[in-house]
Symmetry: C2
Subunit: 319 residues, 2 copies
C-alpha cells in the first residue's frame, strides 16, 4: 500500500474507530514511586488493556479499516506475542479468521492465550527462520491481509491513542517515556503528544541489549541488532521501521537505555509495591525513571506501562 | 473506651479525616471477568492502597483522633500483617512511635515492610501465645494507645470509606461483596452502603476453613474457629468482634464461603488475566463471583479487592 505517513489527525480518527473495542485504561499514581524517583509519575497502564497490551489499539484500528470484501480471506500476523494476542482478539471480535506466526520460545502465556482466542498459531525458530517471509508467503497463498506489528500508518495511528488518552487525563506533562521496540507505539504517541503540547519532551526507552534505535539515531540511518538476548521479549525487534524511524528522528529527544538488572528491579518493584503485573517490556520506562535516567528539569512525567502478559514462571524467578 | 457503635455519619466524617493520607483507589472493570461470572463486576482495588491494603483507612482514622497528649506515648497494634503495615505507615506519617506485634509466620513481605516503615516489630507464636495479652501488656507498661484491628468504632468507620468511594463512583450496584475476617471492613461498608442505597444487598465472603462468621450468624452468637489453616492469612481471625457482629447481623444478607482451591484460582486469574497482584485474603470476593456463589437476580456487583501484600514466593507456587 502507498499510504502517506500517519499524522496526529489519524491518531484522533483511530481513537474514534477503536472506542468500544478497546478499554480506556487507568492512569495510576504511586507516592512510593514518586519518592523513589524524585518525579511525579503518571503511569498509563495498558497492561490492563484487553488482550493484555497496547497492541490491541493498532490491531483494532487496522482491522476496522480492512475493506469488507477482503475480510473474508482473513488476516495474518507475525509477532513475539502481544501483537499476536491483539490480532487474535480483534479478529475474533470482528468475526475474522486469524493466522498468527509466533516464535517457538515465546512466553507460554502468550502462545496459550493466542490459541485460546481462536487463532491458528504457526510457530517458527527465532534464530534460524524469517517470520516476515513466512507471513508474506501465507498472505500470498491465502489472500489474507498481513497486519504489520508496527511499520504501518494504521498500526502507528492506533498505538498513538494511548498518549491521547493519557494527555486528556493529565494534560500538563513535562515529558513522556515510551518503550521502544519497532517504534510503532513511540511514533504514534509522539505525533499526538507534540500536536497537543509542542513543548512536551519525548523519550524512547529500550534495553541496552536491544539498542537498535539508539544506534540508528546516532548513525542517522537504521542499524540492525540481531537476536538480542534481553528479557524484554517484546522489544527484540532488530531494527527501526521505514515509517516509524523518520517520525522518531524528528520528534523524539533521546533514547534512554536500561540494563537487564534495571528491568528486573522494576518488575520486582511493580509486583511488590505497585501491585501490578507488568511484563519485562512493559516496565522499561519505570526502570528508566527508577534508575535516575530522566533528564534534569523534568518533574511531571507520563510513563507507559505497555503490557502485562508474563508467565508466572518468570515471576517465580523473581522470588 | 465507651464510644457508641459507629454509624454512617462516622464513615462520612472518616472520609474527610483521611483525605490526603490515603489514596482514592481506582474501580476497575474487566470484560473477561464479566464473561466468566455472568455479572457486571466493579472491582474496588484497595490492593493499590498505600501500605498495600484497606487497613490504612481505619488506622489513619484512628490515629487522627488520638488526643495530642497521648500521641507522644506512641501506639501499639497486633496484626497478621496488613493492619501492622497500616499502623506503621500511618504512625510514620503522623510522627508517632509504633510497636507492632506480628505472628512469626506472617508473610515475609509484611514483616519486612512493617519494619521498613520504622515500626518496632515484636513477633509471637500464633499457635501458643496470645497477641491480645502481649498488646495489652505493652500498652499498660508504656502508656501507648492500642489500635484494635477491627473491633473499634474508629477502625470500623475508617474501613467504611472504601464503600463510600465505590458507591460515589458506581451508585447503582445491586450488591456488594466484602471479605470478612474480624468484620471491620464489612461492618463499615454495610453501614454506609445501606445509608446510600437501602436496597443494596450486602454479602460477606470468608474462607470455608475460617467460617467463624457463617457459624456465628447461624448460631445467633459469636462462635470461635481457632488456628485456621486457610491460605487467606488476613481472614484467620478466630471470632466476630463485639461491635462488628451486631452490625453485620443486622445489615448483611448472607456469608458466602469459598474453598482454598477457589481462592487459588482467583489469585491465578488476578495475576494472569486482571494483571493485578492481590493477596489470598484480597481475592476471596473475586473467588466467590467466579465460583458462581452470587445469588440469582444480582447483576451489577461491587467486589472488594482488599489487599495486595503477597510474597513473591507464594506467586511462585502458582506457576
Amino acid at each position: 500500500m502507498s499510504l502517506p505517513p500517519p499524522t496526529a489527525i489519524d491518531v484522533r480518527s483511530a481513537a474514534v474507530r477503536i472506542t468500544g473495542f478497546t478499554h480506556r485504561t487507568p492512569v495510576l499514581t504511586s507516592r512510593g514511586l514518586n519518592e523513589a524517583t524524585g518525579l511525579e509519575c503518571h503511569l498509563k497502564c495498558d497492561n490492563f488493556q484487553r488482550s493484555g497490551s497496547f497492541k490491541l489499539r493498532g490491531a483494532t484500528n487496522f482491522i476496522q479499516q480492512i475493506p469488507d470484501e477482503e475480510k473474508s480471506r482473513g488476516v495474518v500476523a507475525f509477532s513475539s506475542g502481544n501483537h499476536a494476542q491483539a490480532v487474535a482478539y480483534a479478529s475474533r471480535v470482528a468475526g475474522i479468521k486469524a493466522t498468527i506466526i509466533m516464535p517457538s520460545d515465546a512466553p507460554k502465556t502468550k502462545l496459550f492465550n493466542t490459541r485460546d482466542m481462536g487463532a491458528n498459531v504457526i510457530t517458527y525458530d527465532r534464530l534460524t527462520e524469517n517470520r516476515e517471509a513466512i507471513g508474506n508467503q501465507i498472505s500470498l497463498d491465502s489472500g489474507a491481509t498481513l497486519i504489520p506489528p508496527y511499520d504501518h500508518p494504521w498500526t502507528i495511528a492506533g498505538q498513538g491513542t494511548l498518549a491521547l488518552e493519557l494527555l486528556e487525563e493529565v494534560p500538563d506533562l513535562d515529558a513522556l517515556l515510551v518503550c521502544l521496540g519497532g517504534g510503532g507505539l513511540l511514533a504514534g504517541c509522539a505525533l499526538i503528544a507534540k500536536e497537543i503540547n509542542p513543548a512536551i519532551r519525548i523519550f524512547g526507552v529500550e534495553p541496552a541489549l536491544a539498542n537498535d534505535y539508539a544506534l540508528s539515531l546516532k548513525a542517522g540511518k537504521p542499524v540492525r541488532v540481531d537476536n538480542s538476548p534481553t528479557i524484554a521479549d517484546g522489544l527484540r525487534t532488530p531494527q527501526p521501521g521505514v515509517i516509524t524511524f523518520p517520525i522518531i528522528q524528528h520528534l523524539v529527544e533521546d533514547v534512554l537505555l536500561v540494563s537487564e538488572e534495571e528491568i528486573y528491579a522494576a518488575m520486582r518493584y511493580s509486583l511488590t509495591r505497585l501491585k501490578i503485573v507488568a511484563e519485562p517490556s512493559g516496565v522499561v520506562c519505570i526502570a528508566a525513571a527508577m534508575a535516575g535516567k530522566v533528564a534534569a528539569g523534568i518533574k511531571r512525567v507520563g510513563i507507559v506501562v505497555s503490557g502485562g502478559n508474563m508467565d508466572l514462571d518468570l515471576i517465580a524467578t523473581l522470588a
